[in-house]
Symmetry: C2
Subunit: 478 residues, 2 copies
């Protein structure tokens, strides 16, 4: 069922109101990772609540405990939950967004003050500002939808529940506990979930995102000498931890990206025909990645292989070494105790646990082969599972139709190479299909200087979210 044409017309006619609302939100510097912005994060929660209440959403401001920020114990930003509509004949949609933002300082290279939403004077339609696309723009997209319906006197086609947090950019602390604790209370009766907190792959093609890679981050810790040694005095007489570490690190991955830890490749789920088709349909040129990287250093020049390398295959990156000489210049030190850091991106059917067992066994075996008197241990410092949704679920089919209606083309089906941990928390704790429905473009620069959202994406994004709601209401669950 296409969206009510009065809704679409209203959106077109109220673009300035919507941009105004975004300007108000961007003006509140709700930086969650910095003690001096604690009040602003709270103010942003209040702003959101007052907006939601004025649009008829029954809202709650929920404390979720305290945390340490720059050495001080402070309240965590509240979780804002809300609901509107409870017609048992309608589907119930859960949406999530975050009202906090990354830090931003004008002197870091911003063209305009980061907390003043600024229209590109060259008329491109770009709206610059911290949080414009991550994640205030998409969150306000939903508020715009509600405002249109309220002012037009239109009934919403679905019941909605909402969950907004203010700690996403600083680790989403305690959100998992909150979801767990409300699992059988607030979070009941939900049919499916939609999150708009990622981006198109390029700058032209709307997409639906149905997968995320997980990540296991490891440290290989090697030690032996009781203190750092001088290579003139001790070079040639002792087992040097750096030599051992480099030997082990060199056995993890080949220069063409092949993971050498035995058993990992075998765990990768085989590619289905449907998946293959979805990857082949993605709008992507090698130029896109060469531009993003700043050079042609891609392992393959095949677009499907490259996309699968990013989205559906595991990868292993060596990040660096803690405790070795890392400054400019020439220091003749034999470091006594070092930590080599690497991570493996996980995809189905790799699990944190199985991969760790394989990695630990392999590193220990390879270290034994070195015949070194040093000590070696390998430690998982962080583990996050991969996630994959069913892209043929009715929620995705509804979003597909909405995209065609708003953009005149079918969406690409993408996966993210990185992780968005809250997705897994909602999906696993509430056992829900989660749709990642991006609003912004691949070049929006979330987390960078000069973050922006294009006016067209903001306005069509509002239509997209509203249209998705209508399609979702109408679509068969089978």
């Amino acid at each position: 069922m296409a969206a009510d044409p009065r809704f679409l017309k209203y959106v077109d006619e109220h673009q300035d109101d919507y941009i105004n609302r975004l300007a108000q939100a961007v003006a509140i510097p709700s930086v969650s990772g910095n003690i001096s912005y604690v009040k602003d994060v709270e103010a942003m929660a209040d702003f959101l609540i007052s907006q939601l209440e004025s649009l008829g959403v029954k809202t709650q401001r929920r404390p979720i405990g305290t945390h340490e920020l720059e050495g001080k114990e402070v309240d965590l930003p509240p979780v804002v939950i809300g609901e509107i509509g409870n017609d048992p004949k309608k589907k119930t949609l859960l949406i999530y967004g975050h009202y906090d933002v990354q830090p931003a300082l004008l002197e870091d290279g911003w063209l305009y003050p980061p907390f003043e939403l600024t229209k590109d004077p060259e008329g491109t339609g770009k709206l610059y500002g911290r949080g414009s696309t991550d994640d205030k723009g998409p969150v306000l997209g939903w508020l715009n939808v509600l405002e249109a319906h309220k002012n037009l006197g239109l009934e919403l086609p679905v019941n909605m529940k909402m969950c907004f947090e203010g700690m996403e950019e600083n680790g989403s602390e305690n959100l998992d506990k909150f979801i767990e604790s409300e699992k059988d209370k607030f979070f009941t009766g939900i049919d499916c979930m939609c999150i708009s907190d990622n981006y198109w792959l390029d700058t032209k093609t709307p997409c639906l995102t149905y997968g995320l890679r997980g990540i296991n981050y490891y440290e290989i810790r090697i030690s032996g000498p009781g203190r750092d040694l001088h290579s003139g005095v001790f070079g040639g007489t002792v087992h040097e931890p750096m030599t051992d570490l480099i030997a082990i690190m060199s056995k993890l991955v080949t220069p063409t990206g092949e993971i050498l830890v035995p058993g990992i490749k075998e765990l990768i789920a085989p590619v289905t025909a449907d998946e293959q088709a979805k990857f082949e349909a993605i709008h992507f040129e090698m130029k896109d990645i060469h531009d993003a990287v700043g050079a042609d250093v891609t392992i393959s020049n095949d677009t499907v292989k490259t996309l699968m390398g990013r989205m559906r295959n595991p990868s292993l990156s060596l990040h660096g070494i803690e405790g070795a000489f890392s400054a400019v210049g020439s220091k003749t030190v034999i470091p006594a105790s070092i930590k080599g850091k690497f991570s493996i991106r996980l995809v189905p059917n790799l699990t944190v646990k199985e991969v760790t067992e394989l990695v630990v066994k392999y590193v220990e075996d390879e270290f034994k082969k070195l015949g070194s008197k040093n000590k070696c241990e390998v430690v998982l410092t962080h583990g996050g599972e991969p996630w994959l949704a069913d892209p043929n679920h009715y929620s995705y089919r509804a979003a597909h139709k909405a995209t065609e209606a708003v953009y005149g083309q079918a969406p690409d089906y993408t996966r993210e190479g990185g992780s968005i941990p809250v997705t897994l928390d909602f999906a696993n704790i509430l056992n829900l299909n989660v749709l990642l429905l991006p609003v912004g473009r691949g070049d929006d620069g979330a987390h960078s200087t000069n973050e922006k959202i294009d006016t067209d994406n903001y306005i069509r994004g509002t239509k997209l979210l509203g249209s998705y709601m209508y399609e979702l209401a109408a679509i068969s669950k089978e």
Copy 2:
């Protein structure tokens, strides 16, 4: 010819005077690497000159140009040269020492103020203070010798020339140019040279040092992406510079210290029977190195192999990586541009040039094998040749006899695993046999907190230097 017994007796009877002289010298904080001590370094030169002059040495204070210190252009500390005696029937001995010291701050963990010579209250005879052993103690040893002879009215058995610098701890800048420029002037008519600026191998056995390893320091620079990348987005799609670098670094040396660069092993001079005998005679226990290292991580448990590993074989150490993630924590970065640092200690017949040619060719060949689109270059950032003196030269034979006379035992014949660049400058520019005749013990802690010299080493060191002078005067040049 043994030393004049009156000289030896005088030394025993004037220990307090000698310790007093050392206390005066240590009280001048002549730190050459710090702008706030420039005046003190000058004051130390003046102190040395006035002492030398009062002992009958014809002295010159020679400026050697300027340098930049902490951003300011200042005069280099002067070179102090002196001569005493010019009897054509006597041999002429050149001695070198340095009057500058390493920085020292009480709060770094010194037991006593570093610029106040302090006797260990527990009566061990240790004299704590910055410069006590490196190199003020040994330099004053010579002054003590001169004082004894002057006060006793004894004639010196050799002519002496002296060269003292104030920049040794900060790179000996321009000293090579000074030696070159005075090669046919001040530095003429010299038979041999003695430097006391290194240490016994252990704490009990006097030694003569006849070799130094050289060093080539290299950076392997790998770059490709135009900027640092996020491993979630780009892991699995691009050639990562870290993967390439670790692969190359792993091919340089084995965990048991074998250098893998082809051609280097073949350049090592074969061990002669005399060398073998000298190594086997060295007083050394594996416990010595295990204590120094703080753990048993030696490649071999054979003392001769261990000593040769330190002194007469090349070694390759991997020091670290510049530009990779090196902090505490877990950052998922793919570094775009990195520099792997390693050095090779050189021994005869390895040369800076030949080794560099072998290293560059090998690294380039190995990099090609990787099939990476990144760029790789290997750069020699510093090169220093190895040095080896003839340990059967008459100067060494004289020092051997002097050691037996003063210590009642033959000296060990050692080499240093590190480099002392001034040794090569004197040896090569002036074409001289250089004797390294240490005064202090292996645990003196030059460059560390709580640097000390033992009273016994300082006093017997004075006798040793004087006795060496007598033996040198008498010994046949054949």
